[in-house]
């Protein structure tokens, strides 16, 4: 392991790669059947890239997204995220990485239904140490940035789908992550709202070119925004 770490560090030093995946597999045990969701995958994602993961259901894009989002660990292979090897990280370490370097956008928005817009943003700041007022100021700024300055105290149930997803984007940005990971972020939105959300994401990247965006989708309109398109089929890059 030590050898690999040293070797990889040497190889990646000086490069702009955010992710380097080597022979990554992920298998699930479903009863007596072993399902190989991901067959060995080798992949590199550059920092500041806009990546789309495409493929039909069961192609392994969700599994890959979970691995990239530090939500899950590979069955084998190595995932280098910045200077860390995710397959070696403990659960707490992964939590910490998610808290500080990764922002998530979900298809169902996944806002806390009992908290209003600004509180939903603040909740993502719970793991980081900062004063409450500073957190509050930042949450406000983020909501203003996504165009919800007037709707900060609304509960999710009082917001439209597009508004909810914008709150979710604000939440994903709360900790100034390195990467935004979205799973079908427009899956529950109509095409007009989808376009607004995609514009928002693109604008964000224009403002801060260091932010990497990785979206899993099978919506061609979303894929059009991507500079790098990764197509998966049966757990392998097609």
């Amino acid at each position: 392991m030590t050898n690999i770490v040293e070797k990889t560090t040497e190889e990646t030093s000086g490069t702009q790669e955010l992710y380097v995946l080597k022979d990554v597999t992920r298998a699930y045990q479903m009863g007596n059947n072993k399902i190989n969701a991901l067959k060995p995958i080798n992949l590199a994602i550059k920092k500041g890239d806009f990546v789309s993961l495409e493929g039909p259901s069961g192609s392994g894009k969700s599994t890959l997204l979970q691995l990239l989002g530090a939500l899950d660990s590979p069955s084998s292979g190595s995932i280098q995220f910045m200077d860390k090897f995710l397959e070696q990280a403990s659960s707490n370490m992964l939590t910490s990485i998610r808290a500080q370097q990764i922002g998530f956008i979900f298809q169902q928005f996944n806002l806390i239904p009992t908290l209003n817009a600004i509180e939903n943003v603040l909740i993502a700041m719970v793991p980081i140490k900062d004063s409450n007022s500073a957190k509050h100021t930042k949450a406000k700024e983020l909501l203003e940035k996504v165009g919800l300055a007037e709707r900060m105290t609304h509960l999710p149930s009082k917001l439209s789908g597009g508004e909810q997803q914008r709150v979710a984007i604000a939440r994903a940005l709360a900790n100034s992550p390195e990467v935004l990971i979205g799973d079908e972020p427009t899956g529950n939105l109509d095409s007009e709202t989808s376009a607004q959300v995609m514009d928002l994401l693109q604008n964000l990247q224009n403002e801060n070119s260091n932010v990497t965006i990785i979206l899993a989708t099978h919506n061609p309109e979303v894929s059009e925004f991507a500079r790098t398109r990764i197509k998966l089929k049966s757990g392998q890059i097609a």
Binding site: Q66, L71, R98, A99, F104, T114, A124
Partner: protein, 616 residues
């Protein structure tokens, strides 16, 4: 964020909150009620035993029959022997109530005390015999009150001082409890009529011989009648021959003979007459003393009809100085005042007795021909020493011929944990004393009250635990169900970087919030049930059996006859005490914590990846 989030969860999802809280509340409320009922039963039992507890008496010293011994056994002369006194008294070489090897207070010899004690005991209870003859002449109206120790044998008051010197004793208060017999009536006239006489008596008497003078007078008299002894002899001779012929005219010849000359010999009849005339007066009319033979007449007399009426009541003598300890205390006064500084003619009356007999404060009662003023009404607790009248100790002692004698010592102990040790020490000091502690008294109370109390304390606590566990289980299940419904939410929190510990904390804070709501509802439920129990609560009975003297001290203390049984009815309540509330609070918190831990552990086992899944 922690509390804001928790508050939002609880308020915005209030139905779930209330439902879960209700599960906890029912448990908390029921546990509180069960504890309340158990407390109520304890209180009821306390009420039964309160005469001891309320006056702070831990030990009661009375005397067993075994301590009463014959006069010969009371004064052991051998000090070595007396050293080995058996505490039971009388078993080894003697049986004085007091240890013989030593001096009592003021240098009194305890040996002497033992012997005087014995004679006093022999006289005890004898005063109750009504001797009509001693009550006065027939027709006299009498009213008497007799005081007898009954089942509680008396002993010298010096014992109080001995007990008070036992280590660990705070206070020893003397008291005398007696049974009183009130008799009124009229001394009856006892009459009996019988007739004597009518008997036939045969008596033989010998008259005294004639004196010289009498003989001379007789002779002279006969000569005056013209008779000589010669003629007398002839007359006797001829009379013997001619008796049949002379008898016909003896009267005439006698009369004529008396006046005829001496030449013609007089007949024998005329001679007898003359002779009789000449006898001394004492022979003519003879007197003697006759002793009638002794006769014993036995008759059965029916007892006279009397109008004597008896009634009984109980009396007790208390030391007026002991206002806070003893058979009654100032706390038990309901009306009037305590004994004044001159208590000799004052009385305290039990409230029940006062009610029955319509006695009020200020009234004067005549007892044993003496007047007593009722100064106060006392209300001794439910049972216990419910004497009807309370006298000044000295007064009752002299009235009942029990000078310096008592039959109860009520002992206060420094520390309740020492009760048994002190009791043993007293027994050692007073061989034959029956030393009764409140604990041993409690053991002798039976009946449904006791059963219910046992039931409440054993089955009740089991029930409380079951109810609580069931309630906890419900709370846990509802919490788990809530966690399951929030899978996506919790997964999201984990995905955006919340640590497991933070999620656990969040769930705990929420369930504690539910616990607080549950507690508030539970307190309401508990109070409601308590009120219902108080309103429709069952009345339980307590039976105290007075067994043979010496065998059951309860019977003695409750002043029952040897075979008496007292049944008390005590209404059960379920008081919510501070302790019960505390248990309720602890139950609610415990339930909330357990549910929170179960729910939280469930929550942190969720993989953060579930946030990504389309769970619909």
């Amino acid at each position: 964020m922690l509390f804001k989030y928790a508050r939002r969860e609880l308020t915005l999802r209030w139905t779930r909150t209330v439902l879960t809280a209700l599960g906890l509340a029912v448990g908390v409320g029921l546990v509180m009620s069960i504890m309340g009922v158990a407390n109520g039963l304890s209180n009821a039992q306390q009420q039964v035993l309160s005469p001891l507890g309320s006056v702070g008496t831990s030990i009661i010293v009375t005397r067993t029959v075994g301590a009463v011994t014959s006069a010969t056994a009371t004064t052991p002369t051998n000090p070595a022997q007396s050293q080995g006194f058996s505490p039971s008294g009388g078993a080894v070489g003697g049986g004085g109530f007091f240890r013989a090897n030593g001096n009592g207070p003021n240098g009194t010899s305890l040996k002497n005390l033992n012997s005087s004690d014995t004679s006093a005991l022999l006289q005890a209870n004898s005063t109750v015999l009504t001797d009509l003859a001693k009550l006065g002449p027939p027709g006299t109206k009498f009213t008497y009150d007799f005081f007898v120790p009954g089942t509680l044998i008396t002993f010298p008051q010096v014992a109080t001082t001995i007990v008070s010197k036992v280590k660990g004793v705070t206070q020893a208060v003397p008291a005398i409890s007696l049974q009183a017999l009130h008799e009124t009536g009229t001394v009856p006239q006892i009459t009996d009529t019988y007739t004597t006489g009518g008997q036939s008596l045969a008596v033989t008497a010998t008259p005294p011989p004639l004196t010289q003078t009498q003989r001379q007078q007789l002779r002279a008299c006969l000569q005056n009648q013209g008779l000589t002894f010669r003629q007398f002899k002839q007359a006797v001779k001829s009379g013997a021959n001619q008796t049949p012929t002379n008898s016909g005219n003896s009267g005439n010849s006698g009369n004529s003979g008396a006046s005829s000359t001496a030449s013609a010999p007089p007949s024998s009849s005329s001679f007898s007459q003359a002779f009789l005339n000449c006898l001394p007066a004492s022979y003519q009319q003879y007197e003697t003393n006759v002793v009638v033979p002794e006769q014993t007449i036995t008759r059965v007399l029916n007892p006279p009809t009397t109008n004597t009426q008896t009634s009984s009541y109980t009396v007790a003598g208390v030391n007026p100085v002991d206002t806070s300890s003893g058979l009654i205390t100032t706390n038990q006064l309901t009306k009037g005042t305590w004994f004044t500084t001159s208590p000799a003619n004052e009385l305290l009356v039990d409230s029940a007795y006062a009610n029955t007999n319509k006695i009020s404060v200020g009234q004067t009662l005549t007892i044993d021909s003496k007047s007593f003023k009722v100064v106060g009404i006392v209300n001794p607790t439910l049972t216990g020493d419910t004497s009807d009248l309370y006298f000044d100790l000295t007064t009752l002692q002299s009235m009942s011929s029990n000078s310096s004698r008592i039959n109860e010592i009520l002992v206060k102990v420094d520390n309740s944990s020492q009760v048994n040790a002190v009791a043993a020490a007293i027994k050692k000091q007073l061989p034959g004393a029956q030393v009764l502690t409140t604990a041993s008294l409690a053991d002798q109370v039976s009946g449904s009250l006791n059963n219910a109390h046992t039931l409440a304390s054993t089955l009740g606590s089991a029930l409380a635990i079951i109810v609580l566990l069931a309630s906890f289980l419900i709370t846990i299940l509802l919490t788990l169900s809530s966690i399951n419904k929030r899978t996506r939410e919790i997964g999201t929190l984990r995905a955006i970087g919340w640590k497991k510990s933070r999620v656990l904390l969040q769930i705990l804070v929420e369930t504690i919030g539910i616990g607080i709501v549950g507690l508030i509802i539970g307190l309401g439920v508990g109070y409601a049930i308590s009120e219902i129990v108080a309103a429709v609560g069952p009345t339980l009975t307590s039976t105290t059996n007075g067994l043979a003297v010496g065998a059951s001290s309860v019977g003695q203390l409750f002043h029952q006859s040897t075979s008496g049984t007292t049944v008390l009815h005590v209404k059960v309540t379920a008081p919510i005490s501070l302790g019960v509330i505390l248990v309720g609070i602890l139950s609610a918190i415990a339930g909330a914590l357990i549910a929170g831990i179960f729910g939280g552990l469930r929550a942190i086992r969720l993989m953060p990846a579930v946030a990504l899944r389309d769970l619909g």
